[in-house]
Structure formats: C-alpha cells, structure tokens
C-alpha cells in the first residue's frame, strides 16, 4: 500500500472515530455550558439510541434476557437500517426532553456533586435495565445486506488515488456528523433562539431579568444534545458492538472531548473529537518505530494517549483549546 493510501485510511478512520465523539460531546458541552449541568447519563442516551436502532433495524433473539422468559424470545421490527437512522433521533430527542424535565431540572440548584451523582445513578439504571431485559450479550447491526439495495455506500469502493479500499460507511458517518454539526452551529449562532441560549450561557441572571423565559430554550437544547447522542448510537453501531455497557465506556472519551475542546463551544467539541480520534488511530497505526537503537511500540499506548492528551490540555489550558472561560460551578 502506498503512503498516500495509508494516509487516506488513517484520515478516514481517525475522523470517523472522532465523529462519534463529536456527536456525543456537542450535547454534553452545550448542556454543561448553558445549564452548568453535568450529565453523566449522556452515555445512556447513546445506548438507548443504539438499542432502539437495533430493534428497528433487525430482529434479534434474546437468550439471556428476562424478556425471553416473559415470552418474547425475539424482538425487533426488521425495518432496516435507513428506517432506524430516520426514526431514532426524534425518539431520543423526546427521551432527552423527559430527562431534562424529570431528572435534570430538579437538580439545577443542587451542588454539582449531586448532579454528577444523580445522573451517574440514572446511567446505572438504564444500563442495568437493558442488561436485565434484553440480556448482556453483544449485538452487531447487519448493515451491508441492508444497504445493498441500490444505495451507493454499500460495500468497499476503490479510491482511485491508490489501491486501498475504504469502508464507505465511515465516510458517511463523517458526512452525517459534519451536516448535523453545521446545522446545530447555525441554530446557535444565527437564530434568535440561539441568541437566547448564548446569552444564557454568559449571564443567565441578566436574561431572566430581561423577562425572557429561559426554560424553554434550555429544554430544547437538552433535547437536541440528546438527539445527537442518539444519532451517534445509530451511525456508530455498524462499526462497533452493541451491549449495555457501551454507554459508560464511551462517556469517558466524550467528556475528554468536551474538556479538551472547551466547555460550551461547538467548534471546540469538533476540534477535541477530531484530535482524540486522530491520536487514537495514529498511535495504533504507528506500530513499532525505531529511532536508532531505541524502538518503541506505540500500539499499546493508543488508549493511554488520549487520556494523556486530556490531562495535558486541562493542566496547561484549563478552559480547553477553544473555550472562553472555565466553568467554575
């Protein structure tokens, strides 16, 4: 494989890995920036998205879940992946609204430790509910057979530059993420609604004094953040395994994305996610590098790398790379 080919593969893999983090981080970041609310249950929205998507896409058989014992050995609609892609985001949006209303709102005035604790508890409940009902095993989406019917990103396609083949679904993940990010960015930057949200981020007291009802924009922002997490669950699923624990697993890098990029900043989330994705993929792909007599194998350090990156950023630029100020809450 040529060097160009290798770089293309690296770039696609890195951006795609980062794209999932970006989708999760935007919601987390906006909620943290505007509402000063720390949501440890954000990963649960990802899991909910992935499972709802799974049940819409295909029929699964449940071997170790309680639902099997209660007379539902198989579940799922089998409507296909595209259907899931369309249906899941609005559902998770609504789930997000409910989460804001019933879990987050009662805790806005509580200390941040309480917010972390209660959302952490919620994350456990969601994870364990799925664990108990549908079972602990891992599932995968059958996407290829699904999209074989006329939609062009079905299988591997040759990139003319060199002889590499890249999974076109990864390119789609990047494209979908980019579109959604631009849309959310436009809403926040260029609409009255966004203006209120932004003003609320700066000085919620003042906005309230001006007589603007701030609850509703916040509610909507929470829902949008949730919806993006749901999208991440569906678009990321064909490239990863689905099990009840993935929400907790992905939450940590998503938080890192937020703190690296800067709280409340959409551009920051994009930068942070891309950085993490690229660092992770590059370290894996580097393999063993020899410098004179010293040879280092970078592959085992891939996961360590992203945490080290976060620690360095937090210590040298606490507000994040593109954040304007540190959240003191």
């Amino acid at each position: 494989m040529s060097l160009v080919g290798e770089l293309v593969v690296l770039l696609v893999n890195g951006l795609q890995t980062g794209a999932i983090y970006v989708l999760l981080a935007i919601g987390l970041s906006i909620i943290l920036g505007t509402l000063k609310f720390v949501n440890f249950a954000h990963g649960a929205l990802y899991v909910v998205g992935a499972y709802i998507g799974l049940l819409i896409t295909q029929q699964i058989s449940i071997a170790n879940g309680q639902l099997a014992e209660w007379g539902f050995p198989t579940l799922g609609l089998g409507w296909g992946f595209i259907a899931a892609l369309v249906i899941v985001p609005p559902i998770v949006f609504v789930v997000g609204l409910a989460m804001e209303r019933f879990v987050a709102r009662p805790f806005y005035d509580r200390p941040d430790t309480d917010q972390i604790l209660v959302t952490f508890g919620l994350a456990i409940v969601v994870q364990e509910l799925i664990h108990a009902l549908i079972g602990p095993r891992s599932y995968t989406y059958d996407i290829p057979s699904e999209i074989a019917g006329g939609i062009p990103f079905s299988g591997p396609v040759g990139v003319p530059l060199s002889a590499v083949t890249i999974d076109v679904w990864r390119v789609w993940v990047i494209a979908i993420t980019a579109t959604l990010v631009i849309a959310v960015y436009a809403i926040v930057e260029y609409t009255d609604f966004g203006l209120v949200v932004k003003a609320g981020t700066r000085d919620p007291e003042m906005v309230r004094l001006l007589g603007i009802r701030i609850t509703r924009p916040y509610l909507v922002m929470f829902g949008i953040g949730a919806g993006l997490a749901g999208v991440a669950g569906v678009v990321g699923a064909p490239l990863s395994n689905i099990n009840p624990e993935i929400g907790m697993t992905i939450l940590v890098p998503a938080f890192l994305t937020v703190v690296i990029g800067g709280v409340g900043s959409i551009r920051g989330a994009v930068l942070g996610g891309t950085l993490i994705g690229m660092v992770q993929v590059t370290l894996i792909s580097l393999g063993t590098v020899s410098l004179g007599s010293l040879s280092i194998n970078f592959t085992p350090w891939a996961q360590v790398g992203i945490y080290a990156l976060a620690v360095v950023v937090l210590l040298t630029r606490p507000q994040g790379l593109l954040g304007s100020e540190e959240v003191t809450a």
Binding site: M1, G5, E6, V9, L10, N13, T17, A63, N64, H131, G135, P136, R137, S138, T140, G155, P156, V164, T165, I166, D167, R170, L239, S240, N241, N243, P244, E245, V281, I284, S285, G287, T288, T299, P300, Q303
Partner: protein
C-alpha cells in the same frame, strides 16, 4: 444423622490442612462455610446421602449436605465470547437433564445410570464470566462459597479459565475446563484441580502447519494480529514457532485488546507490511469482527488469511468472509461417528434443530466425564475423582481414542482442521468443510517438553 461428627471432622481438617501449609488463604474459609451442620437439619430431609461420605475427611465442598449435588456453570453471557457462552450453557443444561433422567451419551457411558450421580440428584447454578478474568474469579468464588458447588465448569477465554483454575486449586473444588486453548492452561498455569479436554495453541500449530504450508507454499512472510491475553499470546508464540520451523518468516505481530470492535486501524498496518499471509488470532465476536473488517478492507485480495482457531458461531457471524479461511476447531457436528451424531441429534431435538458448536460438545463432554469419574470413584471426594480422571482412556465423545494425561491434565486427542465455505455453499448449518482430522499421533508433546515442561500440578489435598 452424623451432623456433629461431620462438623468435628471439618474443624479437624481446617487445622490439619493449615498446618501442612498446603492451602491458600481463602481456601478454608469456603469449606468451613455451613460447617456447623447442626443448623442444617431442618432442610436436608434425606440426610447425608449414600455416597459413603464417612470414609473421607471433609475437603472443599465435600461432603455434600442433603441429597442434591450442585454443579456450577460459569460461562460468558456478556463480552465478545457471549455467543459461545450461550451455546455452552445449552449443552450444560442438556448434560444435567441427561444425568438425572437418562438420554444422550448418558445411556452409552457405562459408568452413568441416568438416575443422578451416586444417588444424588444433580442441580446447577449459572454465572456470568463476562469474558473477563475478574468477573469469572468473583463468580466462581461465589459458586463455591455461596452455592457449595461440588464441581464447576466453564471457559471461553483462557484468562477466565486460568483464573478459575486458581479458585479451584485454592478451594479444592474441581474445575472442568470447557473452551480454553492457551498453552498456559495446562502449561505454566496448570493445576491439579482442573482438566482440559480441549487441545491448545501448540497442538493447533502442529496440526495447521502442514496443511497451510502445503496449500500456500514455502518461504512466505506472515504477519500476526493476536488478542492481548493468555490465549492470544501463546497462540502467537506457537504460530511463530511452527511456521518459522516450516520455513516461513514472521514480519511482525501486534496485540489487540480483547473486546475490540473495530480492527480497521490494526489491519491497515498489516496491509502495508508487505507480508503474504495474515494470521488473525482472534476468537468469538472479536474474530468475526476482525475477519469481516479484513475482508471489507480488501485484504483477502492481496494476502492469504488464516484464522488458527474458530468455531460455528464465529463462522456464522462472519458469513461470506469465512470463505477459504483455514483454521482448527474443537469439534463439529459434521464429524461422522456414533457419539458425534448422537450428540448433534439430541441437541437439535432439545433446541429447535440447532446444530451444536464445538464449545457445546466440550461442555457436555466435560460434565459427563466428571460424573462418570465420580461414579467410578464411588465418591465425590475430590482427590479420588481426580485420580479416576488422570490417565483415563476413552473414545466415547466423538474424537476417537483419547487419553487424559496425568502429568499435565491435557487430553491427548485428534484435531479437526477446517476450511471455510463460500457463502453460496453455506447451507444446512455447515459453514466449513473438514479438511483433515489430524491424528493424535501427529500432534502433542512429551511431559517434559513444550508447555508441559512448565507445568507443576500442585497438591491433591489429601496428602
């Protein structure tokens, strides 16, 4: 009833064993549990059962209170090997059913009656190892201490099996390995209280090398990806050893974390290495994912792919990607002999026509082997059961003539080498064809060589 006497003998043992310094720390806490049997009188109706328990001192969870003997089945219900775990559990349940009521191999094994074991009814508890040594260790300890199991079994992930072997030896409760393929299981981590029917990576190397080198040629470069734990590590080492002996050359080998779902970055490195052959030392869902990712990235067009260990659920999950891939398997229902056919038939009858996988056959066989050994010993007293299993010759589990070797508790057996079928020919639950069943005379190693050289089994517990 001899409750008081039993309680005294347990206490006596506690001191003796402690003095001998043979038992690990947690060990005795487990067996003293429920030791003051005077309180158990209400529940256990039948009393001490009829196994002549008074002949032996208490050890581990022996003697059994009541008239039910409990087995523990500790399988991966979550994590990358959960499909294998589900199939194992089906086979375990079938084994218990047959032990209590007859059927399947129980009717053929001359030691087994089909009316329980040693006049005890068999019950079982299940646990989830989560394909993870930590969870397995915890779950196994719980079975031994809370549920008083007389034997436990399970596997899939050698790290899991090895962790459970540690529990078995400390607690003096027998562990029957199900699927574990690491050299260390009966090598440096072997224990007296565990037996392995499955072959290991070393033997896979011996069986696979002639077939693969004949197919793809001599003097090739190969690249390995391997799962970063006990199994993958020894698998990588054995492949390197045997293929380099055959004249091939390893370009590089890279470890991937267990439970990786996206192998594309690892594979791109393999692809640019310039090697001719790629070994994917992955198993379960990891194996299905890495193979699918490799085929999606077009690697099968430039390189030959070998998957040293696979099985039915994996091939099913990888579907078309398995086409032409060589590997070894534990057992398959296509193997045509009396026990294999019979097992496939009873399994299918019980579970809607499903074909059992290799891990299922291991689970079923190991449970029955234990029960038969206990019957031969006339007691559940672990050291006697162990002695019955050691150097036992048998040919009743569908893999021909076998011996459970005493020096390392490794079965000496034949190994099926298979090759994946193209998607168009995958029908009737057959995903691969059996290329060769390598005879046990062509694989294996002496008690003082290979992995066995590092094995020290430890104490029986009655010394």
């Amino acid at each position: 009833m001899s409750h008081d006497g039993k309680s005294v003998s347990r206490r006596g043992l506690l001191k003796n064993a402690g003095a001998a310094g043979t038992v690990g720390l947690v060990g005795l806490a487990g067996c003293s549990e429920g030791g003051d049997g005077d309180g158990d009188g209400d529940g256990d109706g039948g009393g001490g059962g009829g196994d002549g328990g008074d002949d032996y001192p208490a050890l581990g969870n022996y003697p059994i209170d009541g008239d039910t003997a409990t087995f523990g089945f500790n399988v991966p219900k979550s994590g990358p090997y959960s499909s294998e775990g589900e199939d194992e559990l089906r086979a375990y349940e079938l084994a218990v059913e047959h032990l209590n009521n007859g059927g399947g191999w129980v009717d053929e094994f001359e030691d087994l009656s089909g009316e329980g074991v040693l006049d005890y009814e068999i019950d079982f508890v299940e646990g989830d190892t989560a394909t993870d040594a930590s969870a397995a260790d915890e779950s196994a300890s719980r079975m031994v201490q809370r549920d008083d199991v007389i034997m436990f079994s399970g596997g899939s992930s050698s790290a899991v099996a090895i962790a459970q072997q540690g529990v078995a030896q400390r607690e003096k409760v027998l562990f029957m390995c199900c699927l574990t393929h690491s050299n260390d299981t009966t090598g440096k981590d072997c224990v007296r209280y565990s037996f392995r029917e499955m072959f290991n990576a070393y033997m896979t190397g011996q069986a696979l090398t002639p077939v693969v080198t004949e197919e793809y040629g001599d003097d090739l470069d190969f690249y390995q990806l391997y799962a970063d734990y006990s199994w993958g590590q020894t698998q990588q080492a054995s492949m390197k050893q045997f293929f380099e002996e055959a004249g091939w050359n390893e370009v590089d080998s890279v470890a991937t974390p267990l439970d990786t779902s996206d192998f594309s970055s690892y594979l791109s490195e393999a692809q640019s290495s310039g090697a001719d052959v790629l070994f994917l030392n992955h198993y379960g869902l990891d194996g299905a994912n890495s193979l699918t990712d490799a085929v999606d990235a077009g690697i099968d067009e430039d390189m030959e792919i070998v998957m040293p260990l696979y099985n039915r659920p994996m091939a099913e999950a990888a579907s078309g990607a398995i086409d032409g891939i060589y590997g070894t398997i534990a057992w398959d229902s296509q193997i045509d002999n009396e026990p294999s056919n019979q097992f496939a038939e009873v399994f299918g009858e019980e579970y809607d026509g499903r074909s059992p996988s290799g891990p299922a056959q291991l689970a079923y066989a190991q449970t029955l082997q234990y029960a038969a050994a206990a019957e031969r010993a006339g007691t559940f007293y672990p050291p006697e059961v162990i002695r019955e299993l050691e150097d036992y010759d048998y040919d009743n589990i569908g893999m021909g003539e076998e011996t459970m070797r005493a020096c390392d508790h490794q079965a000496q057996r034949a190994i099926p080498v298979v090759r994946g079928l193209p998607e168009s020919e995958q029908e009737g639950g057959n995903f691969f064809e059996i290329v060769d069943i390598t005879s046990r005379d062509d694989v294996g190693y002496g008690c003082d060589e290979g992995p066995a050289a590092e094995c020290e089994l430890g104490e029986y517990g009655d010394e």
